[in-house]
Structures are given as C-alpha cells and as structure tokens.
Amino acid sequence: MNGIGRFAASAATYGFLGLMAFLSIFPFIWMVLGATNSSIDIIKGKLLPGAAFATNVGNFFTLVNVPLVFWNSAKIAILATVLTLAVSSLAGYGFEMFRSRGRERVYRAMLLTLMIPFAALMIPLFVIMGKAGLINTHIAVVLPSIGSAFVIFYFRQSTKAFPSELRDAAKVDGLKEWQIFLFIYVPVMRSTYAAAFVIVFMTAWNNYLWPLIVLQTNETKTITLVISSLASAYYPDYGVVMVGTILATLPTLAVFFFMQRQFVQGMLGSVK
C-alpha cells in the first residue's frame, strides 16, 4: 500500500472508532447536561448547561424519598450479592473438587437452566411468593437469584486454577472440608470473588422486571422502579428524571471505574 492509501485507511479507522466512541458516551453527557436544564429545554434538545440543576435536584428530593429508595436498592443489591456469592461459590467449589459421575450429570442439567427465560418463571414465582406471604418484601426480590447457574459455572471454571496442593496440605494439617473452603479457598480466590461481586452486584442493582412485579408500594421500591415511574408519567419532568438516572448510574459507574479489571474478567469468566 502506498503512503496516501495507508493514511486514508488509518484516517477512516480513527474516524469510525471516534464516531463509535462518541455515540457510546453521548447519552451519558446528555444525561449530565439534562440534569442542569428544564424539562422543556431537554425535550427541545438543548445541548448547553442550563441553570436548573438546583431546581431539578430539589424537585427530585421532594418527589422521591431518596434515602429510603437508595436504602432499598442497596439492601437488595448487597443482600443478593452476598448470598449469591456464598451459595454459588460453595457449589462451584463442590462441583470441581468432589467429582463423581452423578454430580457431573446434575451439573450438566443445571447448566441447561441457563436457557430458561425469566418470562416463563415469573407467573409461578409470583404465585409462590404470594402463597408464602412474601409479596412486597425485599427477600422475595432476592430469593430467586441466589442459586445462579451462571455464577456456579464461573466459580467452577475458576476453581480449576486453585492449587490442589493447598488442599492436600490443609488436610494433612487436620482441617475439615468446610474449614478448607472458608480459610484457604476463599482468601486464595479473592480476585474471582471480586469479579463475581461486580457482575452480581450490577445485575441486582439494575434488576427491573422482577422487582416491578413483586414490589408494589412506594415504601419498598428501588431507584430503578422510581425512575421508570417518573419517566412514564403523562408529562414527565425530564430534568427530575435526569437527576434520577445520574443517581442510579453513579454506583455502577463507580464500581466499573474502580474495579475495571475485575469487571471485564467477570464478564469473560464464562468463556475461559
């Protein structure tokens, strides 16, 4: 290729990547700008910072019981994450460490549940929760997600890298199986836990359909549900909605930037 051709090709590459990067980031910029503008200006597509930020924040805090809504979201996300990691890492470890023909069959059958669409579960789940008297509770939101085939799979894959000498040595020292798991496996695998934490936390924080079904009063609703109902009002106040989306995105954005490596690692966990 001659010099001009090469220059044109690399200009096209940078142009294309630049455009894609811009389109990817733009909605975030627009969200931040939107929070400073009035609803009318947002809908008219104003692209400059406005002076309505304080008003929007004020309106958001009057319309929404922010501490409560945040507490609800955080409670669900943290509870779901801790329980999922505990139960599913235990199972991933169990499947990899104690192999038997029967367990392999169960494992394969379990992986098939990854294909079950949630839409096919939500009606029976709703009836189950109703019978258990758990409708409108946070525990009902968390319960169905704890036994996660995906997280079990991820932990089993990662456990293949766990040095079995450590386990043998611990056994010689007289540790019981649960002690080996708790005092040796968990600390050694902390980066696996970190990656799984990021994924499970994000999923739980952003979860929508199931909480929408189960949580029915304003006292139990999460930030995601609140934004959704603010935005579907007949005349939504977009300035207020923008403040809400920023607040809902900040925690996940923070997790992403502080734990970017674990984040990517967690996403890739399944293809190793």
Partner: protein, 299 residues
C-alpha cells in the same frame, strides 16, 4: 495408587461434595425447576385469576387466533433477526480494529465503547426516550446536518419505533459482545496475521477468512446469549413506550405481552403461561440451530 485412595475415602468425599452443592441445587430446584414445570402445567389450564380448570390444548389453539400474540411474536422475531446480526458484526469489526497494538488511544476507545454496559436498562431507555423525542436532540441534529427534512416520528410511528428499539439495544450491548471478541483475539497467535499481511492479504479478507473462523466458538456463545436476551426483551420496550408496547402494539414483545396478560389485564395465568412457553421453545430451538450450524461448517 490414586485408585486405592479414591476407593478408600470415596464415600466420605461424596457426602461432602453433595453438601457443598446442596444449598444451590435446592434453590435452583425451588425457583427454577419447580416454576418451569408448573408453568408447563398451567399452560394447559384456563380460567380467571386463581380458579383454573384443565383446558387441554385450548390455549395453544387460542395462540393462533390471537392477533396481539402474532404481533408480539413477529416483533420479537424482527428484533432478533435484524438486531443480533448487526450487533455481532459491529462488535466483531470494533474488536478487530481495537486489537491492533499500534492503534493510538486503544484503551480509551475500548473503555468508551464498553461504557454503555454500565448503564441500567431502565436508565438508558429513559434517556433514549428523551433523546429521540420529536423535537429532541437526535432529530434536531439530523435536521441540522441535512439528513432528514422533517423530524422522524421515533416514538409514534410503528416502523420508526421498532428502529428506535433496535438502535437502543445495539447501543447498550455492542460493547459487551466486543469485550468477548477482544479477549478471544488476544489468545490468537499474532504471527498468523503478520504472515497474512506480508502475503498481501487485504484487511477485509483477513477479517472474513481469519478473524471470523478463529472466533467461531466465541461468536456462537455470544449469539446464543444475545438470542436468549432478545427473545426476552422487556425493560427497554416497557420504558420507551410507557409499558404499552405502542404505537398500536408495534413494539410489543412476548415478555411484555405475558406481563400484560398477567398483571395488567384481567389475569389469565394459563394463557400467559402458554405464551411464555413459546419463548422457551424458541430459545431451545434457536440455540440448537445455531449450535448445529456452527458445527456443520467445521467439516
């Protein structure tokens, strides 16, 4: 030696193994297996609310005569057929461009394109709804650069509403798929590309004859994941259309229809369960076809 060891404490091992996996399996049985079986049972029942009686195949017959279901099915399949290939191809192109170690600002591009994955489905749907308002930023930009003469009715025209849904999902998920391809490309021996380059194989041919075949397992994996995701599409459509799937059901998906049948209209759980099994069957069928297609070409 190993055999002896195994025979000696095999049983002990076994009990421990089952204990470790028991809590997870119990929860999966209770919240996945039991509901999915129950939902199959429900799909043969009919009635209002919780009073149901056995109805045989009446619900399946009803599917064929239900124009709203046909609409939801067509829409869902349209999203799947149009959106998944576009997104996978775009993600592949982006990944192979970003895999070039001489590219300046590689990390920056990668982070930027990946960033949409951080946003919640609800938050970005709400943002898109505002951006694509009739007088909104997208239309005014398109008009300013002269691409369109009058504003596009994104949210009120059946065709454009579908386009908006497809644009939105593509924005949210392309970077996610790209990360899988980038990771897989990192494992490919760079010298293959060097040899091809020296032999004068043009960039496009390197992409179609090297990158795509080498990434086939990952492409299969992401295609199945995207298929499952697209067939269950709910959050985006719900939040772009105030829960209605409008205009006039033009964006309605199967999941949204199930939701409406269960929680918005007079609840008919049996029929809703039947519709949900359509998704189950579609996911299983499409995953099987994709798996089979990827295998066949190996020979």
């Amino acid at each position: 030696m190993a055999l002896v060891r195994r025979a000696g404490i095999g049983r002990y091992y076994d009990v421990n193994g089952w204990l470790f996996v028991a809590p997870a399996l119990g929860l999966i049985a209770l919240f996945m297996i039991y509901p999915i079986a129950w939902s199959l049972w429900m799909s043969f029942q009919s009635g209002r609310g919780m009073t149901m009686k056995f109805a045989g195949f009446a619900n399946i017959v009803r599917l064929w005569n239900d124009p709203v279901f046909i609409k939801a099915l067509t829409n869902t399949m349209t999203y799947f057929v149009v959106q998944v290939p576009i997104m996978i191809l775009l993600a592949l192109i982006l990944a192979s461009l970003l895999n070039n170690p001489r590219l300046v600002g590689r990390g920056l591009f990668r982070t930027a394109i990946f960033l949409p994955c951080v946003s919640s489905l609800v938050a970005y749907s709400v943002l898109f709804k505002g951006m694509f308002a009739t007088d909104g930023i997208v239309n005014s930009t398109l008009q300013a650069i002269g691409l369109v003469a009058s504003p596009i009715p994104w949210l009120t025209h059946p065709f454009w509403a579908k386009v908006l849904v497809i644009l939105a999902i593509t924005w949210r998920w392309t970077g996610y798929n790209m990360i899988f391809y980038l990771a897989a490309l990192q494992n490919i021996d760079k010298s293959i590309y060097e040899v091809a380059r020296i032999d004068g194989v043009p960039a496009w041919a390197r992409f179609t004859h090297l990158t795509i075949p080498l990434l086939k397992p990952v492409i299969l994996f992401t295609t199945i994941i995207s298929t499952i995701g697209t067939l269950q599409l709910f959050d985006e459509v719900y939040n772009l259309t105030e829960g209605k799937g409008g205009p006039s059901n033009a964006t309605l998906t199967l999941s949204l229809y199930i939701y409406n049948l269960t929680f918005r209209f007079m609840p008919n759980l049996g029929y809703a369960a039947t519709v949900s099994y359509v998704i189950v069957v579609l996911v299983a069928l499409l995953a099987f076809v994709q798996f089979f297609a990827a295998r066949e070409r190996d020979r």
